[in-house]
Symmetry: C2
Subunit: 214 residues, 2 copies
């Protein structure tokens, strides 16, 4: 079935924003509260940040656990990797995720300012200046036959949608309003010309939207 | 998080039956039509019997694809394995699934009439006369650290529920009525004293019920 490009567990406000305004080192999602966006996912058994046993195994957990299944590489934009803009002042910044990032595969960071690759635990970050199509080709090669996850942020997802490279999307629409920020859509129906689209409401209050290429 | 015992993609009629009456070599589900029970699953991309590329990747596919994830062994009852009863006349019968069964792990078949193990493709069938607790211990050992799937049929699922050995269940309730046969429940709420319980309706008309131990 080939190597799909998949968006997984992409969290969006009810008014269509994936991130708030004003990203900084203390506010990776700007004025948005990431724990509010992820409130449906954090209690699940499969949440990557879980350190204790237990956790829920309901509908939400089905989506959370699919984050890793069959994935061999991730592509992310530079603004998901860090708050810096322009040339790197130094290479001290190694991402938001500490010593054990939740990816466990090669990660390709799209940037006009490449820097040397480095490895944390079982995640290796590579920095490439490439078009979406070129980046996908490199990621497929790195994924060793598995699928590639498109990790975001919003601008990166939009670029790959515009280039018609995305095969499946799972977007979790959360019952919070952000008012401003990085907008993915005005309405989930905007993708219906190119994708099959199903949605299901979870008891947590989240609506899971699933899309796959027509 | 230990090795869970999981019921996955267990298909049930709207009136609570997992199988019809009158199992025979031509009718593994008795008077029930297995393609009607599985009508929601067969079109999905992850359906184990799929031979062509393509298939849907909506809500139903999330459940279908979880059938294999993290599973290292299956336990099934003898009536899932075949229509024979009592001592084996011979060992010619190797299951309903042809040369490439959809399990791809060790399978422990519970029977009072053990017979020699055999392997088809990457599935090995073992036949054991054991209590549910003993069978689960053997399956965990065979699963190499992974979870164990409880494959059914209904009587087997009920035995393991009665012994309080089941950690999670996914039951897909299909919009067909059978009237008689092997009954799992009168109502899905019967398990609510021991399990958390969530349900979600799929566009296909199936209702997915998910349970996990309290």
């Amino acid at each position: 079935m080939g190597q799909l490009l998949r968006v997984q567990n992409f969290m969006l406000s009810a008014d269509g924003f994936g991130s708030g305004e004003g990203q900084s080192i203390d506010r990776p999602f700007g004025h948005a509260d990431p724990t509010a966006l992820a409130a449906w996912a954090i209690p699940t058994a499969s949440w990557p940040g879980r350190t204790e046993p237990g956790g829920t195994r309901g509908i939400d957990d089905y989506f959370v656990r699919d984050f890793h299944h069959g994935i061999g590489a991730e592509i992310m934009g530079r603004n998901k990797f860090g708050p810096q803009r322009g040339p790197w002042a130094n290479h001290d910044w190694t991402g938001w995720w500490g010593d054990s990032p939740p990816f466990h595969t090669p990660v390709l960071v799209l940037t006009h300012h490449p820097r040397p690759s480095f490895t944390l635990d079982d995640t290796t970050f590579h920095f490439i200046d490439a078009t979406p199509a070129e980046a996908l080709q490199q990621a497929r090669s790195a994924a060793n036959g598995k699928d590639v996850r498109l990790g975001g942020g919003v601008a990166t997802v939009r670029q790959f949608l515009d280039a018609d490279l995305v095969d499946t999307l799972h977007v979790a629409v959360v019952p919070v309003e952000l008012g401003r920020g990085e907008r993915l859509w005005h309405s989930p129906d905007e993708l219906d010309d190119r994708f099959h689209h199903e949605s299901t409401a979870s008891p947590s209050g989240v609506v899971h939207h699933v899309f796959w290429r027509r």
